[in-house]
């Protein structure tokens, strides 16, 4: 019984020693290596030529990948105004939706909204309640909960 436990302890010590030696050896090898020189020696183009991109793409589950991407967050971070002003996107939008009538409509509606907001802000000031923007209609859940 005693002999067995002594053997077990010996095995554990031996394993720990082997682990420590191998870690140290790896450290010494890595520090001795010149990674830059190693990379210089690698012909990346040749490596890439051997990679079958189509096969790699086939193995990627795009749906799963897109599920993990917060597209709304990305769109929120886009400065659409700057994008439209600085790129041909503006010209495309203008071509697709231009017209005197739509321009006049935009102006009339935006002026009316501006006036709506002006009135609402002043009412808010008079009532000493900060105006936080136009409210939305009661949603269905609230409606059923309230009734």
């Amino acid at each position: 019984m005693r002999r067995r436990s002594a053997e077990a302890r010996l095995v554990t010590r031996r394993e720990a020693l082997a682990q420590a030696v191998s870690e140290r050896a790896v450290e010494l090898v890595v520090s001795a290596l010149d990674v830059n020189a190693l990379l210089d020696g690698v012909d990346l183009n040749a490596v890439l030529d051997q990679v079958d991109i189509e096969r790699v793409l086939d193995r990627i589950d795009l749906d799963r990948l897109l599920e993990r991407v917060d597209l709304n967050g990305i769109v929120e971070r886009l400065d659409l105004d700057a994008l439209v002003e600085q790129t041909d996107l503006g010209a495309i939008i203008a071509r697709s939706s231009s017209g005197v009538a739509s321009e006049a409509l935009d102006v009339i509606r935006s002026q009316a909204v501006g006036l709506d907001e002006f009135i609402a802000r002043w009412i808010g000031r008079l009532r000493r309640r900060p105006y936080t923007g136009p409210p939305g209609p009661r949603d269905r859940l609230q409606a059923t909960a309230g009734s």
């Binding site: 105004d81 002003e85 321009e103 909204v113 009412i123 409210p135 939305g136 009661r138």
Partner: protein, 175 residues
């Protein structure tokens, strides 16, 4: 929407909002402007109809018909026409000509499409908001959901139905 800061160049769109207003409750100015347009359109069509009737009567009978605007029948005919104009427009698409122009729309108070019955009740209740010395409209200014008396009675609300953000992009793209 926030007021443009001082010193903003003149090319900056003055009031076109950066927010997406679609589905938000419409304010007093938009609704009043839409109503004014509707009164003009309904009156214009009604007067055109009277003129057409006069013309037809003169052609067919040789007699001139003159319309007196204080005549009870003329007022009654206009009331019936106005009822049809508003109730039918709200029941069919949730918007009248003026509302389509101003980009607002009548919906149920939970944001879904208003029913035909609600359109009729709203039309019948609309004069009430006027008859109470205009107090029926105070809800648009002071209410949480900008609802007038006739909206509360009919269970409706008026929302913006136009895409303000798209309008802003169009404005910027023209510049």
């Amino acid at each position: 929407m926030t007021a443009p800061p001082r010193g903003v160049p003149a090319s900056e769109p003055p009031v076109i909002t950066k927010e997406i207003l679609q589905g938000k409750c419409a304010g007093f100015a938009s609704r009043f402007a839409a109503f004014a347009v509707d009164v003009g359109v309904s009156l214009g069509v009604f007067m055109l109809a009277l003129a057409a009737i006069s013309f037809a009567a003169r052609v067919l009978t040789g007699k001139d018909i003159t319309w007196n605007r204080d005549d009870v029948w003329v007022i009654l005919a206009y009331a019936v026409w106005a009822f049809i104009y508003f109730a039918h427009s709200w029941a069919a698409s949730g918007r009248t000509v003026g509302m389509a122009l101003l980009g607002v729309r009548v919906v149920r108070d939970d944001g879904t499409d208003a029913s035909g019955r609600q359109a009729v009740v709203r039309t019948l209740a609309l004069p009430l908001s006027f008859l109470l010395l205009g107090l029926g409209f105070l809800g648009i200014l002071l209410g949480g959901q900008r609802r007038a008396l006739h909206d509360v009675i009919a269970g409706t609300a008026v929302i913006y139905s136009w895409d303000a953000r798209a309008a802003r992009l169009r404005f910027l793209s023209r510049g």
